[in-house]
Symmetry: C2
Subunit: 119 residues, 2 copies
DNA sequence: TTTAATACATAATTTTCTTATGTATTAAAT
DNA sequence: ATTTAATACATAAGAAAATTATGTATTAAA
C-alpha cells in the first residue's frame, strides 16, 4: 500500500482558494488560523496551509469581493472572522464544480481506477 | 448540468509532469507536439498544454534523469522522441499514486460525491 | 520563566506557468 | 503559384502563486 506523508507543494497549488471558499460555505464563518488547523486535521497533515500562503489569499479574496470579515476580540487577541459574500457563494460553487470536473478528467487521463476504502 | 470549457490555468499547475510521465509510461515513446495533441484530444480541449510550458518541462525532466530522447528525422523535419528512464518509471508511478491520493483527500475535503457517467 | 501555541502580517525568493517571439518544414487551401 | 495553417522545435520576459523567512503580539503550558 502507498503511504503518503504530505503532498509535494506543486499539487496544492491552484486549489487553495477552492479549499478556503468551500470551508467558508460549509461552516459559515472562520478565521485564518482556524482554517489552517481544520484543513490540517481533515487531511491528517497531508495538506498544511502555510501562513505565507493563507493570508495573502484571504486578502485577495476580500479584494475581489468574495469574502468579508469582522474583527473579534478575545481579551487583547484579535481574530478576523471571514464570511462569504453572495458573490463568494457563487464563486465557491463554481470552483468546486470545476475541481470535480477536473478530477474526472485527470482520472481518465491518468487511468486511475476507482478505489475502495480510502478517505 | 455543469459545462466546463477549459480549466483555469491554476488548476493544471503542478500536474504537468505527472501527465507527461504517465503518457510516456503508457505509450512508450512520444515527441513533444504529440503529447500536446494527445492531451488535447483525450480531455476534449479542457487541458491544452502550451509549448512554453511543455518544452521547458521536458528539458527539466531530462536534466533530472527521468527521460531520455532520440532525434528522428522525417525528411528535414526533426522530432525528439522521449522515453522514460528506469528512474523515470519510478517517478511516474510515484507521481500518479500521489495524485490519486490527492484526489481522495480533496474529495473528502470538498465533500464531492461520487458521480456517475462522467469521463 | 521559558517554550509552545495562537493569531495576525509582509517581504524576498523560487517555481511554474502564460504570453510573446523566433526559426523552419510540410500540407492544405485559395 | 502562393498564402495560410499545421507541424515541430526553442527561449525569453513577465505574471501568478506558492515557500521561506521574518516580524509583532497574546495566551497557555511546561
Amino acid at each position: 500500500m502507498y503511504i503518503c506523508p504530505m503532498y509535494t507543494s506543486e499539487l496544492i497549488k491552484g486549489t487553495l482558494k477552492t479549499i478556503i471558499l468551500n470551508l467558508l460555505k460549509e461552516r459559515g464563518k472562520m478565521y485564518g488560523y482556524e482554517i489552517t488547523q481544520t484543513v490540517k486535521e481533515m487531511t491528517k497533515d497531508k495538506i498544511q496551509i502555510t501562513e505565507g500562503a493563507l493570508y495573502p489569499t484571504l486578502h485577495s479574496l476580500e479584494k475581489n469581493g468574495d469574502v468579508g470579515f469582522e474583527k473579534e476580540y478575545l481579551g487583547k487577541r484579535v481574530r478576523k472572522y471571514y464570511t462569504l459574500t453572495e458573490q463568494g457563494q457563487e464563486t465557491a460553487k463554481a470552483k468546486v464544480n470545476e475541481f470535480a470536473d477536473f478530477i474526472n478528467t485527470m482520472k481518465y487521463l491518468l487511468d486511475i481506477e476507482p478505489k475502495m476504502g480510502n478517505a
